[in-house]
Symmetry: C2
Amino acid sequence: MTDKVLDDISHRRYNPLNGSWLLVSPHRTKRPWQGQQEAPALNKLPEYDPQCYLCPGNKRAQGDSNPHYKNTFAFVNDYSAVKEEQQEYHPQKDAPGDGDDDIASLLLQAQPATGRCYVLTFSAKHDTTLADMSASEIVPVIETWTRIYASHLSPSHPLQAAAARALSEIPPNPDGEVEPAKKQQLRYMQIFENKGAAMGCSNPHPHCQIWTTSTLPEEPGKELAQMTKYHREHKGRHLLEDYVKVEMQKAERVVWQNDAFLVVCPWWAVWPFEVLVIAKRHVRALVELTGEERLQFAEAVQEVTRRYDNLFETNFPYSSGIHQAPLGCTEEEAEMSWFHMHFYPPLLRSATVRKFLVGYELMAEPQRDITPEQATARLRDCGGELYRKLLQ
Amino acid sequence: MTDKVLDDISHRRYNPLNGSWLLVSPHRTKRPWQGQQEAPALNKLPEYDPQCYLCPGNKRAQGDSNPHYKNTFAFVNDYSAVKEEQQEYHPQKDAPGDGDDDIASLLLQAQPATGRCYVLTFSAKHDTTLADMSASEIVPVIETWTRIYASHLSPSHPLQAAAARALSEIPPNPDGEVEPAKKQQLRYMQIFENKGAAMGCSNPHPHCQIWTTSTLPEEPGKELAQMTKYHREHKGRHLLEDYVKVEMQKAERVVWQNDAFLVVCPWWAVWPFEVLVIAKRHVRALVELTGEERLQFAEAVQEVTRRYDNLFETNFPYSSGIHQAPLGCTEEEAEMSWFHMHFYPPLLRSATVRKFLVGYELMAEPQRDITPEQATARLRDCGGELYRKLLQ
Ligand SMILES: O=P(O)(O)O[C@H]1O[C@H](CO)[C@@H](O)[C@H](O)[C@H]1O
Ligand SMILES: O=P(O)(O)O[C@H]1O[C@H](CO)[C@@H](O)[C@H](O)[C@H]1O
């Protein structure tokens, strides 16, 4: 049980995973809302849309055609944020002897970033979402993530043996696979989904993106540092190992669980119905999941997305992302990694009223209006069949 | 001059003010946009709206009535995120001797937060914005900010003498003033504006918010730590002092300036047209501005907001906020503070197409599509009369 008093008072909570605080103001949802309303999600999409650049057989922006794929299909993003090849960059030096030169190189720091970005569809059907798919239909998505992760690992990666095992277990996608560029030195792979117009998604065809980069991005970098510090300071225990233990014992933030995964609204949730899916045992990356665990992970993803849709009986928007061991990493970094997936959904009060993380949140610190315990209670209550199926 | 090559390649830039990196992908705006469009700002608002809870003479949510104020009017937010009085909070301890207790208190950390939140109107006119107001009409806003900041400083604050001078120079607001609660120990005052529905603003009447808290929020806390570190490592020079020097010398990110303030698209901008207004001399907080500098600050705010509106000929949304010395602080913290104001506007391509900071940005790190140098060039080109005035 939490201290009950936290339901009624303003307080800050600490996020040990990224090392920052947020403000919780449980009484604040009482205020009336006269601001922006989200457009309700479109009622009925076709199963196949001839205009969609992700549907099987269609032409894409730069002229390539998609195969008539069955489940998933991955391709290099036609508008990648990073590319494999680009001009080299060597920071320009001003005239030698110029004293201000030092200040400029201190304050105007840049570094080149290369890599490759992929788009991955979850299904051939234009009108489906993870919430509509069964766990066994989600398994091919997880298998594709696993094969892509495995094939992008650095040659000397500590998880190469696990990767080889995963690649031998999971048959290649008959509709084609992406292969990493030969010369690339990749450091990290960020798998993420933007779902819904409210989260900047420009195509409802179910898909995620996979950005691989030569650099370690900020967020996984901060988490790795925090997890490493915790491990050193607490007798070799893992932060998320201990966190799973505490949440299972307290039970009040647990939304759902199976043998392999725990689904919680974390103590430090920023987004109103933020959810964290955590591996119960020490899984460092996708390639370490067994076949049975991939199915259990699919179940967890299915439970989260279906509950989200049921909550406000809408096509619930969110951004989600997987954090795991970097693609290029030391033995210690792999060891400190703990597989988990974040879901950040913006809706707060209804299908059309979202939480804005704006002025105070951007300038000072994140602020939330309901407690994670209240969010958990709501999400626990909306399991069961997907609301859309009951309406049919 | 920047290295020209950065206009064409993906790279990361470092933000020394908050200590984090972001990804810049200059070629990415070429992709077509089929996602969410913002509703264009309402065409014509009345000068007085009987339904508005901020207009002079009107009733507010909890029954209070606004005075018939002339310029600005401040009151305690009817739905404050923090309050002065609340139940005390002492973290609950589990049964003694329970080994898991330690883990829980490590991983489920909370601290109480008290304080007071104000709403401050910028004008009696419902249909105006800072962009419509002249610099001399903005001066009363800055004077009110200054008086509120001064009256909330801790009794032993290193800037008390400056506060006393400012309070004696600026006449009290004839329409009433807010007084801090007597017993409060306040640590920080965050002044911020959310403008436009896209930034979560629920009332177009021009106003900002002022949240005072018993704790130092994350962002100003990070900046203070970074500025202090820089000062120690670089022979007692200030980070923003050096930054002003570099930007004035390089000139390519300077949008506008006067004697007292520099307006730049910072090297490390995350939002497409993000702007930073920096005091050129070492001003620690509002109370240190002279009367002439308050006018010059008003000019800078006017220039930024007018250029924003001119850029896409729209009522440009943004969140803005002031960072300055904490309300309760040590001599060193006051000394390390350097007065500045951030503007974070979401629009990217047009009046209706914004940048979404979503999946990759939330899970990995911020990513921007145009360079700050390109943004600067655009903002430099749209000075002159406010577009709306030319249409009349
Ligand atoms: O206080 P307001 O204007 O009602 O609310 C707005 O600003 C707050 C502070 O940035 C945010 O927490 C809210 O989500 C936003 O809608
Ligand atoms: O790549 P997309 O889906 O076109 O773009 C979306 O996701 C990206 C990665 O989070 C963001 O940078 C864009 O702002 C957003 O619109």
